[in-house]
């Protein structure tokens, strides 16, 4: 059963956490907002893994999506627009014991945060990155985001967005040292849950692009998609995201895809006819930066004293 630990005997004295232990204030997202589903899945993954609330940190930027930390009863860092990733990397750098989550939006991650996006992926620190991609600026009320569909009318482009939308997957898959790239939609909650769970279980940066409904400002993108499941392509593979019972039959189009195959992943990402859902790419062997950045965590005061003194002595005259 969900959340029930399979082996009660191991740490019988431990605390047991329910969903409530991860849920803080009532979310202030709009009715029907996809963020709610994502939050619920995150809560469930926390419970499933019985994460210690005090050792869990969710880091975000600014945007509707970036409110997530406030709805988690864990440590949280609701920082600056576009800067969730560098902060999260810093949090993890010397605290391997912390379970780090990042909640970011399409504007936050792909526009103002684009440079950090590329570089955080390179660092491949052990954290779970969820991009809430609603194809619009939600919090600031309907401006064009990098993923806004072309010709969609926004407040900054009343005549319709002028650029073809950026494809976050093709760029992500182009970054050396990436280790986990998945895509999912918020309204398929069982699959969303499994995807986030798999992302969390992965060691390294797991990047999950979640196509997210914003019923208030993005009618086209999500409504059309929700009504047209044929647009999606479910990726199946034993090393991929486990597809829960009943979910598989919701997808007309499916494909076997080996997540170790980068060029196949690129092919899927570049295919404009279908939106792949599942695990596109995974490389468990990519170097993990926090293994470097945490060097010397075990140094005692004596070690440090010795180190400073030795360094100082080089300058003795």
């Amino acid at each position: 059963m969900f959340g029930l630990k399979s082996d009660w005997s191991v740490k019988a004295n431990d605390r047991y956490f329910t969903l409530d232990d991860y849920s803080a204030a009532e979310p202030r997202w709009c009715t029907g907002c996809g963020d709610l589903a994502i939050l619920a899945s995150v809560h469930k993954v926390c419970r499933e893994n019985q994460l210690l609330p005090e050792n869990t940190v969710s880091v975000s930027g600014i945007g509707c999506s970036s409110r997530l930390p406030h709805y988690m009863k864990t440590y949280g860092f609701h920082g600056l627009h576009g800067r969730a990733l560098p902060v999260a990397c810093g949090v993890k750098s010397r605290r391997l014991d912390l379970d780090v989550w990042v909640a970011t939006g399409d504007g936050d991650c792909f526009s103002i945060g684009a440079g950090h996006w590329i570089h955080a992926l390179r660092y491949n620190m052990d954290m779970t990155v969820l991009v809430f991609d609603n194809g619009i600026y939600g919090l600031t009320k309907k401006q064009t985001s990098p993923t806004t569909p072309e010709a969609y009318q926004t407040n900054t482009h009343p005549g319709g967005a002028v650029l073809p939308p950026l494809n976050p997957l093709t760029i992500t898959l182009g970054v050396t040292n990436i280790s986990f790239v998945a895509q999912v939609v918020d309204w398929n909650t069982p699959l969303l849950y499994e995807t986030i769970k798999a992302a969390h279980a992965h060691k390294g940066t797991s990047f999950v692009r979640i196509v997210q409904r914003c019923p208030v400002f993005m009618d086209v993108m999500n409504d059309e998609l929700m009504d047209d499941p044929a647009r999606f392509l479910l990726l199946n593979h034993e090393q991929g995201i486990p597809v829960p019972d009943g979910v598989s039959k919701m997808f007309e189009s499916q494909a076997d895809h080996d997540p170790n195959d980068l060029s196949a992943a690129l092919g899927l990402a570049n295919d404009r006819t279908k939106i792949p859902v599942g695990l596109l790419y995974r490389n468990p062997d990519a170097g993990i930066y926090n293994e470097l950045s945490s060097q010397g965590l075990d140094f005692t005061s004596e070690d440090k004293l010795a180190g400073v003194n030795e360094a100082l002595d080089k300058f003795l005259i």
Partner: protein, 642 residues
């Protein structure tokens, strides 16, 4: 022309040098300023550094300043390409670069022209110039050389030509990489340096090279030494002021910053390269691992600040090191750190500005930007290092203040401190300098995340891992419980509490000490790397009978207490700074339109006294001689005006 110059064997008559008598009656002097200038890559800096370290080891006071060309590989034999070093050696602690050089060794005439343009010399300066160019195969070069000699004569400089290249060729086939050791030998004889120590230093420099390399450099040194013994009449002695075995270290300001970081217990530096700050990170990249620390080179300055803030939030106060343009980029992150009360140490090695400005040159122009840069009310602590020893100790102070006050702390250094080398007492590192290990004991859930003390604004902070302390940090207006709140009082209360911390800190500070008499005609106020220069200039003015004193500020935010009271004991107060201010007597400039130097601006608001200023953005360190004239002129002007 001075005596010393006359004592020089201006011309090399023949090559039978070994027949000339050894000269070794040394004249005792109190101090000398020596410059060595060459093309980039000819090792003038290494030569000067060695001379400096050697002198420090002999118990002399030493101050060195590097002369750095702006290009990586500037063209040879051009004024812009001048690379070199200035070493001031004395019988007491040296605190600044000093005035015009007493002696200079130049590897070619063009680099000498650059320094003449920077007014580094006067007609008393002994100029030693390699004469190889006189006989160069290229006529253009021969002509340039001849022209330059005429030019030098016209500006009153007496140049002594030495066959440096020629002499070196006797020892090695290609003296370009080695001439500097010959010159070191020359200088070691001129200043009666300890040759054994010198040879040991040379061995150290080439420790990673082959024995042969060491040997040939020793040979060059010896050749230089012997040459001077036989051909150069000037020969000085500079007494030691400290026991040579006194526990002193000698280093530049960026190395001191790096060591300070290691000694402060900080474990993480997140940076992005920028001149003149980067060498501190280079030092740490080499050394930090020995205290278990890590240098993160981020993708840009914003990410560097974000990374450090993330680490600080997670319990380990981290540090970011940068210079002006980087400070500009970090502005938003620093505002977040103020608002959300995240301890953070920001080291700003100031360079010439504005904008990209003068990357390798000194300025003190970031004071107002660091103080006021972030939009909204963002109180923070600002310290300024005045000496290389401060560069070390203030990092430790900064880390402690950042954590105790839950606030970002700026430590201002500058290009002058960064590359200047000075001996100071070896710090006795204590383990209570280190940050405490991350506290993982449970947090009392009754204590709120911002449990501000009403009077001081201070609060303890929960650290991830502490059970019961879970809170969500936010840059939005938030209450004691870290919850976002848009009501009318929350932001006011939060702002008050954050501001109160500065007042509470100020309450613990003592007024600055006055150098000189406690009252008089003129009080000079400075901050940062100009300390030694200003004090020396004030001493000169006092020796000239003027009632001048000075104070030097280390805390710029909050300001040290008692300033108004101290200032009001003097008829006139002025700051001396390395930043821009309008001159008093210039078109359109009057009492209302004049833009004051940065500290002067602050102090005028703070004291309401008519604090004057003298400042400049030449990019060069100040010379005490110039500053003493400035001070004396103002004192006289004011007295005259009354």
């Amino acid at each position: 022309m001075n005596e010393a110059s006359e004592l020089i064997a201006v011309k090399q008559i023949d090559n039978v040098v070994e027949e000339l008598p050894v000269r070794d009656t040394a004249i005792a002097i109190r101090e000398h300023i020596v410059e060595i200038v060459s093309d980039s890559g000819e090792g003038a800096q290494k030569c000067g550094q060695t001379l400096g370290i050697l002198s420090a080891k002999m118990g002399n006071g030493v101050w060195t300043v590097e002369i750095i060309p702006a290009e990586i590989q500037p063209p040879a034999r051009t004024p812009d390409g001048a690379s070199g070093i200035r070493v001031r050696i004395g019988d007491s602690p040296m605190t600044n670069t000093g005035n015009d050089a007493d002696l200079v060794v130049a590897f070619n005439e063009q680099v000498l022209r650059s320094r003449i343009g920077s007014h580094a010399y006067n007609d008393q300066t002994v100029v030693l110039l390699d004469n190889m160019w006189a006989s160069d195969s290229d006529e253009k070069i021969r002509n340039q050389y001849a022209d330059a000699l005429l030019e030098f004569a016209e500006c009153g400089l007496t140049v002594h030509e030495l066959p440096i290249q020629e002499e070196c060729l006797k020892v090695v086939p290609d003296p370009r990489k080695g001439k500097n050791m010959f010159v070191l030998g020359l200088l070691c004889h001129i200043y009666s340096r300890d040759t054994e120590k010198a040879l040991a230093e040379i061995s150290k420099i080439f420790a990673r090279k082959s024995a042969k390399v060491v040997e040939s450099n020793h040979a060059l040194f010896n050749a230089g030494y012997a040459y001077a013994q036989r051909h150069i009449e000037i020969h000085y002695e500079i007494a030691a002021h400290s026991e040579p075995d006194h526990r002193m270290v000698v280093m530049n300001g960026n190395q001191a910053v790096g060591l300070g970081i290691m000694a402060s217990g900080m474990e993480l530096v997140a940076m992005y390269p920028i001149t003149p700050a980067t060498s501190a990170s280079h030092f740490l990249a080499d050394e930090f691992h020995s205290v278990g620390g890590f240098v993160h080179q981020a993708e840009d300055e914003i990410a560097a600040a974000g990374f450090a803030i993330g680490a600080s939030y997670a319990g380990k106060t981290a540090c970011t090191i940068t210079s002006g343009p980087g400070i500009a980029l970090k502005t938003e992150m620093i505002g977040l750190a103020c608002m959300a009360e995240i301890p953070l140490v920001i080291i700003d090695v100031q360079r010439g500005g504005p904008s990209t400005g003068l990357p390798t040159k000194v300025e003190q122009s970031d004071l107002l930007a660091t103080l006021f840069g972030a939009p909204g009310d963002s109180p923070k602590i600002i310290l300024a290092a005045a000496t290389i020893s401060d560069c070390f100790h203030f990092v430790i102070l900064a880390r402690k203040l950042a954590e105790s006050f839950r606030i970002p702390v700026f430590l201002l250094s500058d290009a002058n401190l960064a590359t200047g080398v000075q001996p100071f007492e070896r710090p006795e590192v204590a383990d209570d300098w280190f940050a405490a290990p991350i506290d993982q004991s449970p947090w009392d859930p009754k204590v709120l995340a911002y449990d501000w003390d009403e009077e001081t604004g201070l609060s303890a902070r929960p650290i991830p891992g502490m059970r019961g302390g879970e809170y969500v940090l936010t840059g939005l207006a938030h209450n004691r419980n870290a919850k976002i709140a848009y009501d009318a009082t929350t932001n006011q209360v939060g702002s008050t509490m954050r501001s109160r911390k500065l007042a509470a800190l100020a309450d613990t500070l003592s007024p600055p000490e006055v150098h000189g008499d406690p009252e008089g005609d003129m009080l000079v106020i400075g901050w940062g790397s100009t300390l030694g220069t200003i004090e020396e200039a004030v001493d000169v003015a006092r020796e000239n009978g003027h009632k001048v004193s000075c104070i030097h500020l280390r805390f710029l935010s909050p300001l040290e207490p008692g300033l108004r009271e101290i200032c009001s004991r003097f008829k006139q107060v002025m700051t001396i700074e390395l930043n821009y201010s309008d001159e008093i007597h210039a078109s359109y400039i009057n009492g209302e339109t004049r833009r004051y130097a940065q500290l002067a601006q602050l102090l005028r608001a703070h004291t309401l006294l008519d604090i004057d200023c003298w400042s400049a953005v030449y990019g060069n360190p100040l010379q005490p001689g110039k500053i003493s004239r400035v001070i004396i002129d103002r004192v006289i002007e004011v007295e005259g005006g009354k």
